[in-house]
Structures are given as C-alpha cells and as structure tokens.
C-alpha cells in the first residue's frame, strides 16, 4: 500500500519529463501505473469481502505519534478502486483531450500527484498522515482548477476552492487532534473501535462540529457548496475526476470513516440529515436552471453529495433497536456512492468530449449529435439512464434503496421522502438535459464541425457506463462483494452483512415512488422551458446566497490586512521601535505581575547603620550620580559634541562601577572601548549639522512615556532578579578548576580563552565581519565619488 501511494508521487515528478520524451502517447504510458494499482486493489476484493482488514505501518515521527500507517477495509477499498480505476481512464482521456497543450506535462504532474494524495487519504490510518494527504488534495486541486492560469476567473475560482476547503481543513485538524487526545491514540483503527468513548465524552459536540466543518467544506455541502460550480473552470478531465468522483467525496469518506465512533447520536442524525437533505434539494434545483453542461453536472454533483451525507445521517449505528434501519441507509449509501461515481464521471467525460468536438458548452445550442458521434452518445445515454434511475441500471438500485431508507424512518417520513422524491424528479430532468438534448432532436450549427471523438476519449466513458449497466444487471455477483464490506465499515461491524441486492423487490412503495418519479421527471423535462420561466422570477434568492458572504469576507479580510499594514508597517523606524518596546513592556510586565513570592521592596536597614552604609558605598553613589548626569546630558544636550562627551562620561562611569564590584578586566576593556567609541563618533559626526528640534512636543511626550515605562520595568526586573540566589552556579566549576585545568590565575581570562574558547572565536568572527563591512562602506565611498549619487 505504501508503494502504491509513494509511486504516485514519484510518477508525478517524472510526468513532465515523460511527456517530453514520449510526446503524443504520454497519457497512455502514464495510465499504465494506476491501471497496475487498480489490478492490485482488485485482488483484495475477495479477502475484504470475507471480513479481513489489512494494516501496514512505517515509522515517521515516532516521538509525536505520527506514523505512515495504512489501513484497508471495505470503505477504503471501494474508494481506492474508484480512484485508481477512474484515474486510469481519466489520464488516458486527458492525454488526447489536452493534445498539443503547452503545459500538458505540468497537468499530468498535478493530476497524478492528486491521485496519489487521494489514495493516501483513503488508505491512511494515522490521523496526521490522513490530514496531510487531505491538504495535499486541496493544494493539487488548487493548481488543477487554476490550470488555465492566464484567465482571472480560473485563478479566482482556484483560490476560492482552496480557501473554503483549506479553512475546513484547519477545523478538521483541530477535530482530529481533539479526537486523538480523547481516544488516546493517533490510529484511526484504534479510535474507531473504542465503543462509546467519544459519544459519551464531554468534548463530543466540539469534535463532531469540527470534523463536520472539514467534511462539509470539502464535500460542498450547503452553505459551502458555492465553490464547486466555480471549480468547473478546470479542464474537464479534472472536473470528472476531482470534482465528481473523488476529491469532493473525501468529506463523505471522512464522515463514513468516523461514523462507527462518532455517529448514531441524535445530533449526528439531525446535522447530517438536515444539511444533506438541504444540499440535495437545493443542488438539484439549481442544476436544472443551468445551461452550461459542466455547471449542470456540478450542481447535480452537489445534490448527490447531499444524498450521501443524508444517508450517512440515517445510516450510522445508533441504538441497538435501530440496527435494521441503519443497515438500510448504509446499504443505500454504498450503492449510491458507487453508482454515482460511475455515471457522473461518464457524464462529465461525455460533456468534455461534446465541448471538445463542437466547441460549444451551452446545452440549448446543441442537438442531434448522435449521428456524428454515436459511441459518445451511447455512453452518455447509458449513464443518463443510470442517473435517472431506470432499471436495469445500477442507479435504479441506488434510488430504490434511497426511497426504502427514507420510508423506513420512524419519524418525519413525509418530509424525508418528499425531499428525496423532489430530488429524484430533478435528477431525471438533469439527466435528460445532459444526455438527450445534445444528442437528439434537430442538428444545430456549432462552432466546430462535430466528429466522433478519438478512441481514448470515448473508451473511458463507454467502459464506465457499461460497468454501471453490468453491476445493475448482476448486483448480487458484482455489487455485493464491494458494497457489503462498505456497509460493515460504516456501521463499525466486524462481520460483513448480507445485503441481498436484487433488481426486483416485488411491487412495493419504493417501486411505485420510483415509477412516479420517472414519469413526472420525463414530463417535466418536456415542460422544462415553462418551468424555467417561472423559476427565473424567484432568481433573486440566489444572489443573496453564501457566495456573496464569501466575497464579503474575502474583501473584508483584505481591507483589514491593508489597514493593519498601514498601522504596523508605517516605514518609520521609530514607530517600529515604539511598537516593539510597547509590546515587550506589555508582555514582560504581565509575567512580572504573575510572580508574587518575590518582593521588590528592598529591606531598609536600621537608622543607626545609615552613616556606616553611606560611608561604605560612597564611591558607588558618586559613580551612580555621575552616570545619571551623563545620561541626562546625552539626552538633553542640543550640541552634538556635548552629547558625545556625555556619552563618554556614562561609559567611564560604568567602567568605574566594574572596578568597584571586582571586575578589573571589564573596567580595562570598557575604558579602552569607550575611548575608541568617542573618537569614532567625533570623526564621523563632525560634519553633521547641529541637532534641530524636528519632533513635535506631543511626539516627545509619547516617546518619553513609552521609554520611561520600559525603564521602570527594567528596574523592577533587576530588583526581582537580584533577589534570586541560584543553588548551583556554572561558574563554581570554572573557579575551582581554573588553575589545574586552565593553568591560569585570572579566572575571567581562563573562561574566555579556555573553557568558553569557542565563544571567543565566534566573537572574533563577528568583529572581523564588522570590520569588513566598515571597510566595504568606506571603499564604496571612494569609488563612487565621481559619480552622481
């Protein structure tokens, strides 16, 4: 399993090079790798159907609990098969679709990287590696949507998709980490087997909300659905792959994955069925109002994702009494998931072929293409029949089970069934729109003269559509081994359940509903024009939708960014300095106030000792006075030279302090350096004008306030620090071994040249660099003298 994921990333890196070497047939060559993986995953079907699960583990960052571990059960297997199987056909298709495109190599690189990330996501067992793959799918999707990067619409749509799914990704990360801390493990396989630990934990609600935020954004649930139709800016193979059959299902996968541990509660059921139900109705309703092929399909995908979420809401293992009910819904979930992936990828590819061959994407301007492109037409019609829910297609089965699941609900049967019936009718209209209108009726003039598509572009859709038909015809033999383990995974059962998938259930309520839906849907398709006219009048509802909130939030964020940049990045050195100082003072003072056990008020000695103390510390007091006077002079003087002289006084004063407190080495150095500094100052600043008073009094007061506050804080800090006596000092070792190890009697010198010699070497390096810098600056002067600067 590791190999299948890693090889994808390696292949992605090689893709541009392969494209250059192989040229025209690159799509076919690249498609062999996912084909091999597809075959590899097919070998698991039998064993998974028998209830086996597979684990693989590699150490990554063990100390953080991050492992590269993989887990293959029914749910992962179905996804892995979809990803590799559809991926093979898509890559093959894209090779021809993008024939002659300048950046075909780059396209393959991103597409294959996406495939690898998606595969990693559904196979990952460790939550951190799952999150990383999750984000990788968002990032690769960003580059694929914005593939036509010269168009602003494509770039904006890519950013929108990235921001919405990336924002959800952050919520997901928080949710996963909370989950790990509650469950005490980073491995999903362990977390999911922990019974009711999560459902009964106090953090259940936040964890659930965070996870759902990630899943809903990724899987385009209302109100986060708006990014998906815009993502149709991507080349059609991308839409067919990422935005119908795989990436947008990552959120669905996540919900299905965690449902054994998190699902089944009242909150889970309410949230998923309300959001899923709303999404399925709104998505389908918006789909029939579109005229562009890909947008119709995009909205119907949103609707299908809503159906899946809705079913997961109903089909989680809840109270033991509901087992029968949840199996119904989980069964419908599995069947619908597979069915939708098959027909929706087909329809997208067919739509891409139509647009590619005719140059037209508006369905109202297409017609009668079945003569020119019969093979594409057959694939399209087969897929559309499956989507509409005609027997004997797999889609029929999915729809039947959906009705059965809602009809079996203990409460709100009317609302739920009503919603699914409406969605069903709209689905019929959508499938007629995308598969009947372009292929039948009167032939219409198109920008390009239509021909049958080349082999790579009809084989993919044809294979997928035929698979849909075959599984529909033989559901027990082909569908059950795949779906039964999925149901077991969703419900968290150890044993695979028996499904008994058949086309003919006898005449029951679901069949009657299905027939009604089909007939009403077909009728409604013929009245589509009139329906559209009515719907056009309530169109204003769309304009105040969530897309507008996205725009506003984005604009607001940019405004805020420029506002805070204007304030923080003023370009004035002193403003930066003031902000830095003020922040430091704020934070340090806060921590100082937290320390209560130290007193900063020094002990006041008895009055009779004052004279003695004064005599003893007379020198210190005099020097301190000297330094303060010098400081005042340096700040206040209007003359440059006076200020520099005052600076010298401060420096010498400090040197005297060093003498008083037993540091003669420091004193010598300080005297020397101070003298040099003063000389340098005089040399450099001799030519400068006198200090003009250029700041306003208000500014001076403000700066004074900030700097005095900082000074007071430093004073308090020194008083606190001197009150602490460390138990053991590093320097005790230095003092004790100065003679026997360092062979020197001046301990400070021994530390510098022996114990801490590397530090001194570093110091010398700094001085060297500084000297080279000074030299460079002065050299620069002499060379550019003649030039105009």
């Amino acid at each position: 399993m590791l190999l299948s994921v890693i090889s994808g990333f390696v292949l992605a890196c090689l893709a541009p090079w392969l494209q250059r070497v192989v040229g025209r047939g690159a799509g076919a060559v690249l498609a062999t790798v996912p084909l091999g993986m597809f075959a590899y995953f097919l070998t698991f079907i039998g064993r998974i159907a028998d209830g086996e699960v597979f684990h693989e583990q590699w150490t990554w960052a063990e100390s953080l609990g991050v492992r590269l571990s993989f887990y293959l059960d029914g749910l992962s297997l179905l996804f892995a098969l979809l990803i590799t199987g559809i991926g093979t056909l898509i890559i093959f298709y894209a090779g021809t679709y993008l024939h002659g495109h300048e950046f075909r190599g780059r396209f393959f690189a991103w597409l294959i990287a996406f495939k690898a990330a998606m595969l990693g996501l559904v196979l990952a067992d460790n939550i951190i590696s799952m999150f990383i793959f999750w984000e990788l799918t968002s990032i690769t999707s960003y580059f694929l949507i914005g593939f036509d990067h010269h168009r602003k619409v494509a770039r904006d749509s890519a950013l929108q998709a990235l921001l919405v799914t990336g924002g959800g990704g952050l919520a997901l990360l928080a949710g996963l980490i909370l989950m790990a801390s509650v469950g005490g493990s980073m491995e999903l396989s362990t977390l999911l087997n922990s019974g009711d630990v999560f459902r009964e934990h106090a953090l259940y609600v936040p964890i659930l909300l965070l996870l759902l935020a990630g899943a809903f954004t990724k899987s385009a649930q209302f109100p986060f659905h708006f990014w998906l139709p815009n993502a149709m800016e991507a080349p059609t193979p991308v839409s067919a792959y990422l935005h119908s059959s795989t990436m947008v299902k990552a959120g669905i996968y996540l919900m299905a994955r965690v449902s054994p541990a998190m699902g089944g509660t009242e909150l889970w059921m309410i949230l998923l069925s309300i959001f899923g139900g709303t999404t399925m109705v709104i998505g389908a309703y918006l789909a029939i109002q579109q005229v562009y092929l890909k947008r119709i399909l995009a909205y119907s995908t949103i609707s299908a994702l809503g159906v899946l979420t809705f079913l997961l809401g109903l089909g989680a293992s809840g109270a033991p009494g509901d087992a029968e009910l949840s199996i119904y819904a989980a069964k419908a979930f599995g069947v619908f998931l597979l069915g939708h992936a098959l027909y929706k990828a087909t329809l997208f590819l067919v739509a891409g072929t139509i647009t590619h061959e005719t140059g037209e994407k508006d369905v109202t301007k297409l017609g009668g293409l079945s003569k020119a492109m019969p093979l594409t037409a057959i694939a399209g019609v087969l897929a559309a029949l499956s989507m509409a829910g005609f027997p004997p297609f797999f889609g029929f089965l999915g729809k039947e089970l959906l009705f059965e699941a809602t009809l079996a609900q203990p409460s709100l049967v009317g609302v739920m069934t009503g919603a699914t019936v409406i969605t069903g009718i709209l689905f019929v209209i959508v499938s007629c729109l995308v598969a009947l209108r372009p292929f039948f009726g009167h032939a219409k003039e198109t920008p390009k003269h239509a021909h049958e598509a080349p082999f790579p572009m009809w084989i993919g859709p044809a294979l997928l559509a035929i698979t849909g038909l075959l599984i529909g015809l033989l559901p027990a033999a082909l569908g059950e081994p795949l779906i039964a383990p999925v149901v077991a995974s969703v419900l968290g059962l150890d044993e695979p359940v028996e499904l008994k998938l058949t086309l003919w259930h006898g005449i029951n309520a679901a069949l009657i509903l299905g027939t009604i839906v089909l007939s009403v849907g077909v009728l409604a398709y013929f009245g589509h024009r009139y329906i559209m006219a009515v719907l056009g009048k309530v169109d204003f509802l769309l304009r105040i939708g969530p897309a507008m909130w996205y725009e506003k939030a984005l604009a607001g964020m940019l405004d805020f960014a420029s506002l805070q940049t204007r304030i923080l990045q003023s370009g004035y050195l002193r403003m930066y300095l003031m902000l830095t100082v003020a922040t430091t003072v704020g934070l340090v003072s806060y921590s100082l106030f937290q320390i209560s056990e130290f007193s900063i008020i020094p002990e006041i000695p008895p009055t009779d000792q004052w004279g003695h103390l004064l005599y003893e510390n007379l020198y210190t007091l005099i020097v301190a006075g000297l330094i303060l006077t010098g400081t005042y002079g340096a700040v206040h003087s209007k003359s440059r030279l006076t200020a520099i002289a005052a600076l010298g006084v401060v420096g010498y004063g400090v040197a005297l302090l060093y003498i008083i407190f037993g540091a003669p080495d420091l004193a010598i150095t300080q005297f020397l350096i101070e003298t040099l500094t003063v000389i340098l100052f005089v040399l450099v600043f001799y030519h400068l004008p006198e200090f003009p008073k250029i700041s306003r009094p208000r500014e001076r007061m403000r700066d004074l306030f900030v700097s005095v506050t900082a000074g007071v804080m430093m004073t308090i800090m020194v008083l606190l620090a001197t009150g602490i006596e460390p138990r053991e000092k590093v320097s005790d070792f230095h003092s004790a071994h100065s003679v026997d190890l360092g062979h020197g009697r001046n301990i400070v010198n021994v530390i510098l040249v022996d114990f801490r010699a590397m530090d001194t070497l570093g110091e010398i390096v700094v001085l060297m660099i500084s000297a080279i810098g000074v030299l460079a600056l002065l050299k620069l002067k002499s060379r550019s003298k003649g030039e105009k600067v």
């Binding site: 100082v581 900030v706 700097s707 005095v708 009697r745 801490r756 660099i769 002067k781």
Partner: protein
C-alpha cells in the same frame, strides 16, 4: 547597593530607548550605545554582586581564597562589550555613508528603499 544600580540601569534603558525613537540619526546611535551599556550592567547586576574582590587565584594557591566576584558574567560582558563596539563601528560607518548618499540625518526621510 542593588537598588541604586537597578535605578541606574532603568534610567540607561529609558534614555537609550528615548534617543532611539528620535528622528535624528546621531541620537539614534547614541541611544544604541546607552542601550548596550544598560544591557551589560543588567547582566552584571542580575548575576549578583557577591563581592568586591576580583576573581583571581592568589599565587601558590590552587583555588581562589575567600569571597570573590562571579567570573562567568564578567566573561560574558567582556564579549558583549567588544561585540557592541563592532556593532557601533559598523552602524557609524553605515550612517556616515547613508548621510553622504541621501544628504539628510532625518530618519523620516529614509523611508524609501531606492534612494
């Protein structure tokens, strides 16, 4: 004597920061020097003023006798003084050059990168 030194350090910090917030170039550099003096004294004082005797080992002895000042902060400060001087020398050369090129010592007029 710590309270006295604490006040000296605080005043040096205040004066250094205040000068660094001026618009004049020379004042900025003077502020920088005061700030480094303050930092050195801070390390010196915070490490504890144990004794007024230098950390020296008398001849004939293997270890220092009696009480003596802590040698480690002294070694640190010695390094800091020298590096501080390197920084000041570089700053002075840089500002000297900047003044020659831009023709002003007003920092507010040094906001553009392309002068």
């Amino acid at each position: 004597m710590e309270p006295v030194l604490a006040i000296v350090i605080g005043s040096l910090y205040a004066a250094g920061l205040y000068l660094m917030m001026r618009r004049n170039l020379v004042k900025l550099v003077i502020g920088l020097v005061l700030l480094s003096q303050a930092a050195n004294l801070l390390i010196f004082t915070a490490a504890g003023l144990r004794s007024k005797h230098a950390p020296l080992v008398p001849p004939g002895e293997a270890q220092p006798v009696g009480d003596f000042a802590d040698p480690l902060p002294q070694a640190l400060i010695l390094t800091a003084i020298v590096i501080g001087f390197g920084v000041i020398a570089f700053t002075l050369a840089l500002f000297h050059r900047a003044y020659q090129v831009i023709g002003t010592d007003d920092l507010d007029e040094m906001r553009a990168t392309d002068t």
